[in-house]
Symmetry: D2
Subunit: 485 residues, 4 copies
Amino acid sequence: MLTTDPWEDDHLHEECGVFGVYGADGAAALVALGLHALQHRGQEAAGITTFDGRDFHTHRAMGHVAGNFDSDEVIRKLKGEIAIGHNRYSTTGETALRNVQPLFAELSSGGFAICHNGNISNAMTLRRDLVRRGSIFQSTSDTEVIIHLVATSGYRTLLDRFIDALKRVEGAYSLICLTPEGMLACRDPLGVRPLVLGRLGDSYILASETVALDVVGATFLRAVEPGELIIISPRGLRSLRPFEAQRPRPCIFEHVYFSRPDSVVEGNSVYQVRKAIGAELARESAIDADMVVPVPDSGTPAAIGYAQESGLPFELGIIRSHYVGRTFIQPGDQIRNLGVKLKHNANRAMITGKRIVLIDDSIVRGTTSLKIVQMLREAGAEEVHMRIASPPTRHSCYYGVDTPERSKLLAAQMNVEAMRDYIKVDSLAFLSTDGLYRALGEAKRNDNAPQYCDACFTGDYPTRLTDQEDVEIPDQLSLLAERVI
Amino acid sequence: MLTTDPWEDDHLHEECGVFGVYGADGAAALVALGLHALQHRGQEAAGITTFDGRDFHTHRAMGHVAGNFDSDEVIRKLKGEIAIGHNRYSTTGETALRNVQPLFAELSSGGFAICHNGNISNAMTLRRDLVRRGSIFQSTSDTEVIIHLVATSGYRTLLDRFIDALKRVEGAYSLICLTPEGMLACRDPLGVRPLVLGRLGDSYILASETVALDVVGATFLRAVEPGELIIISPRGLRSLRPFEAQRPRPCIFEHVYFSRPDSVVEGNSVYQVRKAIGAELARESAIDADMVVPVPDSGTPAAIGYAQESGLPFELGIIRSHYVGRTFIQPGDQIRNLGVKLKHNANRAMITGKRIVLIDDSIVRGTTSLKIVQMLREAGAEEVHMRIASPPTRHSCYYGVDTPERSKLLAAQMNVEAMRDYIKVDSLAFLSTDGLYRALGEAKRNDNAPQYCDACFTGDYPTRLTDQEDVEIPDQLSLLAERVI
Amino acid sequence: MLTTDPWEDDHLHEECGVFGVYGADGAAALVALGLHALQHRGQEAAGITTFDGRDFHTHRAMGHVAGNFDSDEVIRKLKGEIAIGHNRYSTTGETALRNVQPLFAELSSGGFAICHNGNISNAMTLRRDLVRRGSIFQSTSDTEVIIHLVATSGYRTLLDRFIDALKRVEGAYSLICLTPEGMLACRDPLGVRPLVLGRLGDSYILASETVALDVVGATFLRAVEPGELIIISPRGLRSLRPFEAQRPRPCIFEHVYFSRPDSVVEGNSVYQVRKAIGAELARESAIDADMVVPVPDSGTPAAIGYAQESGLPFELGIIRSHYVGRTFIQPGDQIRNLGVKLKHNANRAMITGKRIVLIDDSIVRGTTSLKIVQMLREAGAEEVHMRIASPPTRHSCYYGVDTPERSKLLAAQMNVEAMRDYIKVDSLAFLSTDGLYRALGEAKRNDNAPQYCDACFTGDYPTRLTDQEDVEIPDQLSLLAERVI
Amino acid sequence: MLTTDPWEDDHLHEECGVFGVYGADGAAALVALGLHALQHRGQEAAGITTFDGRDFHTHRAMGHVAGNFDSDEVIRKLKGEIAIGHNRYSTTGETALRNVQPLFAELSSGGFAICHNGNISNAMTLRRDLVRRGSIFQSTSDTEVIIHLVATSGYRTLLDRFIDALKRVEGAYSLICLTPEGMLACRDPLGVRPLVLGRLGDSYILASETVALDVVGATFLRAVEPGELIIISPRGLRSLRPFEAQRPRPCIFEHVYFSRPDSVVEGNSVYQVRKAIGAELARESAIDADMVVPVPDSGTPAAIGYAQESGLPFELGIIRSHYVGRTFIQPGDQIRNLGVKLKHNANRAMITGKRIVLIDDSIVRGTTSLKIVQMLREAGAEEVHMRIASPPTRHSCYYGVDTPERSKLLAAQMNVEAMRDYIKVDSLAFLSTDGLYRALGEAKRNDNAPQYCDACFTGDYPTRLTDQEDVEIPDQLSLLAERVI
């Protein structure tokens, strides 16, 4: 079987996008549009829950937003002026519908729906304790832990129970919740995953990225701040700070790859940061060549920045197909590198006899870099110099990003020279960590108090990794023992 | 819209059938066959859960067993030698997949799957208390209460927790549960709903009716007794009596209509009881006529008994279609009684000019009796004398049978003469209560200690009806406030 | 794989039912109801074509009428007051949608839709000639030959072309066609397959059987006569006799099995004929026994007739399941005769220790008779005497009935005593041919000019069998060489 | 309803892509890959027919190649070493499966399958004559005319009949046909639509574009020449010239928009031609600005060429979403230009306060140009100067391209200044016709004998337009009168 998405296998992946609307006609339709704009943050499943003042309405589906949430029939049933939605990229084989968010529970206070971008790093430990007390889980999702903590909290009001629950979880979370009393949104104290606030007429909008505000025509107000809890109710918007203040450490990889280039993340234009990265890369590791070629589309802004800084022409040496399927049958042994060509094809007439600077955003396993380079060589490229728009990816992420285990990360296994040899390029260079911070407008990384979470590059994790340490958690808790077929 | 199943609307309905296999190759395939044989006990949904010694495997589907559980692909994934299954007839509009049994939960003791035939008559009251304590329900099913009671029980072993849970529920239940330690089966102390035990080679089989044993080639061992708890594990079969002894009161309607005529229920052949009912009816309310005609197929055995006792010929004056759909579009106003004819058509050549004794098992709303009689008249019947093979159905059932509210029960609204007038028959007679007991081999009903639950005829309910009395239960608890679309 | 329809495999099968409506509001809905009532004549596929005065609208689907033609959405699109429909039972593996009728073609005279019950016995020969002349076939159906003959006829008017086409075909056909000028219906000169005419308000109805008239509330006017061509147009109904007169020979098996018992075929009540058959059988081959048991439902009317004539009690010794699927997975080797039990189960309590007269309508392969008898013996029957309500089926049908090849017909391979031995019954008797004619009200079969087509019993075919004789037809013509997957 | 594909509505569209393989293991899998690479030439439906030496196997489906032709199950059934396939972009509402190619017919010579890129401009006239003679059409496709001409030709051999048929058709066709004797490929005498020949090991490959050869790893041999008929059989490849020689006039729009940039068409790299077009445009209509922004992706190569020639920076001022659905529900009135933003979003941080040269390949209706410009203005662009990489599109195409009628073509309704005003840009310029010819390496257009078909720009059609002239064709012939629902 051939995947037409070879690149997808060789990237880190954001696991989720969230979007919420408070107080708008056709709230569900707005959420569908917002989730469509956030589709790059999670492609496996999507869901929307609305509240019409009396009932909650939910639709969840495997697959993309388009195709599942674009029919009049579905949207009409999602009644109400308050709505939240979620795109999911699954980290495990378990992609059953019951893990698709929004998760919902009927609490003694009424319905409670939740969307979560991030990952609770002590979820297994908490789950084991909850099950011992008699809680019954519906899913294998770490997010469900939050609901059970709310349900079993000793506090009285829903808000107190919610804060009580959040104080017991560790890790990364940007949350949007729907209750009969209003919408709750919260970003973890480190602000690892993004969350922004916008306004559309009289409605409030919450979204993972500003691009989702643009698409629905909303105005960007501000980022939800790390550690901030926002309550939107008929009485308006309130902001609380229930956690002890901490130095924020937002995820640096949002700028490298996760976020869309037309988003503004933590005050920076993603496109301009990526161009600045390309310029840094041109300065750090210049090379004599005929043209700069991006791996489309993830390498394109950095390649434009590299070309402008170096004076080399920017050329589309690789053409990307817009028609992507999951897999094709391998027709026979005679065809090499077929998978890669389904998505990317060498622009042979442009490439032959040329010395190429090839720009990509990162190297994860390296398997597809290898194939791309081989494709360029077969198309007649004379030299291929690879430049990577981030430092080597050496560590797994535990905050809501799908990373292969360390043994699969090429940069965790070999040094740059060995990688160059493996990928079979004439030269290979990565951006330096300080170069990355410079592109973000910092002088350099502050090693004592890093400005960002860069654990995938440095191994410097900003929280405890309780589940990783807790050797006691029995296997049966890691997944429901029921396989629904 | 026309239903081709007009009869179905005018019968009481058993809500469930259960079937379990312990220790057989291809256990899931056996359960599929058993459920197929029990399809008459629930047609809206079905499910099977298996245990392979490590994992539980579940498949649930809306619709019939055939079509959902007959593919090699489905059965092959339901691995293991232990399996339980369930047919569901829904009482409410809420037929979402999450209510389809077996229900499953991951308890601290491991997986726990449950199939339930019956109805917990204090479920709402228990649910309210559990939610207040922090339990989160996945379904609107009364059965889920049992699981949460097990999960939150203060006892240590799973068996003790299970018994503790059952002691807190009221009502009717024939249960089969699957746990990593073995299979648990239990019948409530009154034995309202049936449950039988069989043997197939080295395996044990549990089923709602003996017909399901026949179909898989199993030998009938005995009925599970009222109040008996059976544990089947690698150590063999054990029988416990955890409840205080009570006088059993099995459901009398199983003999009238629910069970298949080829089953043996509480020691009696259903077919022979129904023939005896017909004979009683012929003696109690004889009439001069040309032939005895059953409403097929529910009235057929009683009509044969009536014909043999009376000496009148038994004739198929109404022909039933074997091809049944749910609904058809009404083509126009010119057609009367169309719905009824889709399923039953008068055998005009046989009927014209004849005096007919028409036999049906019961009258619920009376709407279709009315249409059938009109159809016979339009086909030329000279006289129609209706004879009903049970007493008037005057009361709702709270033990797992789908009954309309009392205001819809014809016999709760009018006396027999008024019913005769409404249905437009020349004469109408019901079987007497004592006649029904006689057909079952009793001298008469023992009014001080009735041998059966006959509440639908007499209003004499054998348990408290806590949820009916508890006016405090808030509406929001009766159904999840989330509508999954 | 187990079929739950073992019986279906051991019956001759009518291949089609047809139904037409001229001039009624909601014509498509009426056709859907009519086809539902004729579902027993063909279960594999169904189709409806309507004409709204301008356009033809068609829906075809694999499967039953219910489920495919009962939705408002489908019926609403089938606009117009004129409509025809067809149920199909396929004779070959080729059940692709393009063979599902009504077939449609755009002729120079406009659209032309056709429904056909029967079989053209020189279709292959005609097809070969048409293809040589440049005609391109869309299907492998013999019916399409008629359309191409109309399209290429040298005559000018559509009516003349239609008659020209029919004069060139041999075999059996009851046709209903839809054209912009009106509806055409025709029955072959022998009248092998049935076709009746009815009236509903101002509309005309055409149907394979009277039961379909009953279901839509139409009045039965008369049978379309053998060799009659009916034209229904805005000018009313006209009847033509375009063929040379021949002695009719309608199919005798319609009375034995194909037609529904509540239909009237060629002036006889099917139910009463079958009872008369049972009575003949009781006289021809009486036996001392305890009860008469039908194989349900095909043997039931004959069993009632046998019981009434013999004085033995009629009993439901075998119970038929109403829930039928196609196949189930065989769970293991320990279970014998499983397939048969899915559909029919012995009423053990009734059977044990009894001497049984078992009535079925016919024996085709004998495989399921064998299993039924074994099932009765395992349930404890002391003696089983089988009585068959027709003569031995020894010859294939070429007129629209699905018969196995002769080598599979049990009665073509052995005599009655050998069959008795094979089926393992205590005695076996078939109805005599004259007995069958007597049940139909004839004194006896007129061997010089038989009153019916009884070729399946006698081998006396009423037409030439051109395709059987024409050894020249190349294989490639028997089926399209394109397999559409 | 909002389409996420607003652009698609405002482009001319190639209607088809074709691909054939002769003599390779897994031929169907190769065709699936080739069609995937040609998906941009037709997105509504796809089909593959294979020949295994005995039978033809076909699968057709609405939708993309991926999703329909990537499963092992489908490909395994498409047996054989010879295969042809087709992508279809429908011009009318009629997209029923029976119009999906390959079309297939059983001729007297055996099976015949055909794939066609182009349009027969006298199809209606020929069809009317064929129907009058008795031919029955299965589809509304112009391509089916060719099959009936072959079927009814007076010549004897299949090859002669095929040539006879082609001599009677007018218009544009690149054909690949499958017969039991081998594969036939043919390009019309003008060579309007492209067709290329490649080699993969011992197999021959035919494809609409070279990119499809690249993807399967085949070597590009040469273009099939205008008027050339190629026969590939077990005896090898033969080339015939059955038509009178004509001056070729390949479609010039293939270079502007239809073909993929990584294809080589008529000897020119499409990417390099488009860059040359951009450079011509920069020379013809220079403007002072801050950056060059393409409408992605169709304007990108020309924008790179424009930027390189002008010295202005190339920037991604508009970001294209990779996740495309068909439609979304409009959530309310407050949101303007929503449709356009689902697919393209302004890169606000880059755009604000800037003077932009906006490059697109063509303007058809102008509706989406209007919206894009408005989107850029709302994002803060100071000036927008639109430059179009082709001359004004003023005429419909009758050779297999989906063009709106002339009244919908903006350039047919107004001059450039009026268009500038309508689209609301600061300046607007189109490429000159001679500029386009220069980018293709010609000195200028030869008006006496134009080197290309440029009728969409000039109205100079290279063939008769018989169907347009023939006022006699009755309406009923333009579409089958049967609507299959």
